[in-house]
Symmetry: C5
Subunit: 89 residues, 5 copies
């Protein structure tokens, strides 16, 4: 998994039906983490802008989902006390 | 997922049968996004050149498809008002 | 998917049984495409050296295959008129 | 797989139910290894800070797990005598 | 797939049961190949140090395996006459 910060949200009206109801978050991966500087992940835990979050990539992103959806990244946790570990991220 | 811009289309007459009927779009991933600068994705939402689109990678690309096809990237949404969020992409 | 050029072939006599009969092509990914500069892909459409080809990565590579094989990249199409789109690749 | 060093742990109180009970380790991949400099992996072998560990990525991370969980990286082994091979990592 | 050279082996006594009996090889991917400079792969064809080998990544690594194991990279072939093609790797 990677850790990143929620820096925005994204709206897509014309999308696959299996994505209807999904909340798309723009995540900036922590400086030393993640293959991609920024990605879009579906929120599964009620995260908001400014939160540091745990993001599962690939097929792992669909395991928590209530239905099969075309997603390859999901926010699966909100980090506690990120300030204590920020230098390690 | 990543966000990218549709910059072209691609034709492949000699291809696997399970790809017949697929529309191949050349996607340039938004500057801060995506492992690969450009990829080829199959269109699943009627996107066209110039559209900013949401692209699902890996096995996620096949979930929305009506049949099993040899694809690892699919356009699953068209972004609304990309100008509002372009700096975050 | 990525687009690349077939620049060579590769022979592996000592290999897993499920790869026997596979034709291994060395692919150089188009300059702006692909995570890896070069990869080895199994040919599924009769491509040859010099062809520009469409390559499916990961589990997508096994969908077109007639049997389960230990492959993570497959040539699934040959590009038409690559010269028209070369600047976009 | 990649080899990395456990450099910290991470706590996420608000997370998916299927992650409850998981121990999240922050792994710094050995200098020549791994796509990402640092990742978060779930511990499956009792590793601790300072250990050099073997990390399985993607769907492989879920094979050893006792239940389906939204994880894409898992610590699946602790390296013996890493000093003997450190130059190769 | 990628091509790489076996440059060492690795021992992990404390590991998941499903990895017991696996031979871990340290692979340096050929200069133009592969996302990661070095990775650890499980040997499935009897490769040794100095061999140039074909490595399958991701879920492909588990297809040849006799049992479900937490592996994401496997040596699935030994390259013949690598000197003839070394400039292409």
């Amino acid at each position: 998994m990677i850790v990143g910060k929620v820096i925005g949200t994204l709206v897509s009206t014309r999308k696959l039906n299996n994505l209807v109801g999904s909340k798309f978050l723009i995540i900036e991966s922590a400086s030393n983490m993640g293959t991609d500087k920024r990605i879009v992940a579906v929120d599964q835990v009620g995260a908001g802008i400014g939160d540091y979050v745990l993001v599962a990539l690939g097929s792992a992103a669909r395991i928590g989902a209530t239905r099969e959806a075309s997603i390859d990244a999901a926010v699966v946790g909100i980090i506690d006390d990120e300030n204590d570990i920020i230098d390690k991220l």
